[in-house]
Symmetry: C2
Subunit: 332 residues, 2 copies
């Protein structure tokens, strides 16, 4: 695995000599058409393309420094992690792919403005920010598409977090993974709102990686997912270009529910939903039946992300007082 | 539709002359391998075979009498229903298939010992009891397999409610539906317990018939269901013969969750689950992780049916104080 990944990285980065302290910042992203299933686990190559929207103001800022003659020091939200901490270990394994051939270690300061591992894709913003920090530290001056290839190795969905606004991660065709990168969809939709409905922000019972591999291997219904995901992505892309909110909302909600359906039909079953998740779903459907155009999407966790237009903000806030409203295109 | 059904009935019943008052009794049944999807809506022919266990003591008793020169009178739990009541209309439409050529109507007294339309398959016991009452009233003296063909026209799952214990409804191959009947699986399992966990006994928001047709027509993941259902049925049948409770429980729970998964992935989404359903699922999984062999199945409703062995009754009752425990084979 390590050799495969190092070989992949060698094709992208120009050298392994750190030049300066590096800084990277990246937003979390919400997939409207989901990534669920890997065709290559070593290289994080997906079975299907995916499409996301980034959430400005929520994400990760990472500071990186190479220090001679010491081992890695990983700080998460200003706390030094022990070397057996899962986040620290995963970060160091990723940094292994980029280390100079000299003795030393990285000092990494990661600040997340979202709870870690709560279904809000902090690993996506985390590895995107780390790829940006590495690019800055080594002064590679790589374009974002190339950095998305590197971020992908840390977490598949991180490939999409290099961009603000809408992003499309192409699944790619090549076995070597060089064509599985994300790029920006150059469309702004100022009216589009995302409402974060936090049900439970504790650690996930099963990681996305484990969840998707169990689904691929132990769910008969999964066979239809890759084609459905591609078709949904095309419909969502079209909806974005036409600003057809109903098509965006319906397709996104159906895509998320179909992804969760494949988990539910897996053995042993994978159910990220909590009772409050289901209560919120019924509430959304009730609201929609009353004429309010609100939809939702969900990732590998119990939290819901509402999709609605700015004109319905007050109605949404009245029905979901705890909702945190994000305008993905407020500055564009 | 009516002509197709009358033609089907004409191939089974020997005559249309009522002889006496008729009585029929039938139990509800819980499918361990589910029926979900019709290949022929008029004749209630399923896309897959299914396997059930009946619940003695819960079901329907129906009294039937033919009266000259009056229209149908349908009583449900001793209350005379208005002619525009949905239950009364559906019953009369079913009785149309069997009416004599003389003027008159049926007086039907139906007593359900389960809440109507609460996901506890009262339509299954209802149409099975009605088929038995018709057989008694007309003195056809038909074998149970033939009556299961008639009951099927009222409600697919009713074909399985002609029997106590385990029953297998063969999907059949013929277009005319004459080979789509249920028969008894001649196996007793005295240790097997069913625990009814009632979450909500109010009327279902969407009928099973509507739910399954929407799934067949508007769910990409459904394509894999018919083959999976057949494979699950074989595993459950084998588990019954070997008294392999783990195989029975795992396959039944996975089968039920896969059926619900196809609904969840349908557009518009179909979610029979309530928040309390999900709370109960997590509780069952927690209990199982602690070593108690308990599984569940669910039909088109929010209620759970627990599967466990008699030795675990006390543990189950401690964790689910409201559970109603049924011994399907207590008298065998």
């Amino acid at each position: 695995m390590k050799n495969t990944q190092r070989h992949f990285v060698d094709q992208i980065i120009p050298h392994r000599t750190p030049k300066q302290k590096g800084i990277g910042q990246a937003p979390v992203n919400i997939a409207l058409s989901k990534y669920w299933g890997k065709r290559n686990v070593d290289l994080n190559l997906p079975t299907n393309s995916s499409l996301s929207v980034s959430l400005p103001g929520l994400g990760t800022e990472t500071h990186l420094e190479w220090m001679e003659n010491q081992s890695d020091e990983i700080y998460l939200n200003k706390t030094l992690l022990k070397s057996d901490n899962a986040f620290a270990q995963r970060t160091s394994l990723f940094l292994d792919l980029f280390r100079p051939n000299t003795q030393g270690g990285f000092v990494v300061n990661t600040i997340n403005s979202v709870p870690t591992a709560a279904g809000l894709a902090s690993s996506a913003s985390g590895y995107a920010a780390l790829a940006l920090a590495l690019n800055d530290c080594f002064q590679w001056d790589l374009p974002l598409k190339r950095l998305s290839l590197l971020a992908r190795l840390g977490s598949g969905s991180a490939s999409r977090s290099l961009y603000n606004g809408f992003a499309l991660w192409h699944k790619g065709q090549l076995d070597n993974g060089m064509d599985s990168y994300a790029e920006k969809i150059d469309q702004a939709w100022p009216e589009l709102c995302i409402g974060l409905l936090e049900i439970d922000v504790s650690e996930k019972p099963i990681s996305s990686t484990q969840g998707m591999q169990n689904t691929v291997n132990h769910c008969e219904l999964y066979a239809a997912w890759p084609d459905k995901a591609e078709a949904d992505l095309q419909k969502i892309h079209q909806a974005i270009e036409r600003k057809d909110f109903q098509q965006l909302g319906q397709t996104s909600e159906n895509n998320a529910l179909a992804m969760h359906a494949t988990m539910i039909a897996t053995w042993p079953p994978i159910l990220y939903w909590q009772p409050e998740s289901v209560a919120a779903m019924h509430q959304i459907w009730q609201l929609r039946s009353e004429g309010c155009e609100v939809y939702f999407t969900m990732d590998a966790g119990p939290n819901l992300k509402l999709l609605f237009l700015r004109q319905d903000t007050q109605t949404i806030q009245d029905h979901f007082p705890s909702v945190k409203v994000i305008h993905p295109f407020s500055d564009e």
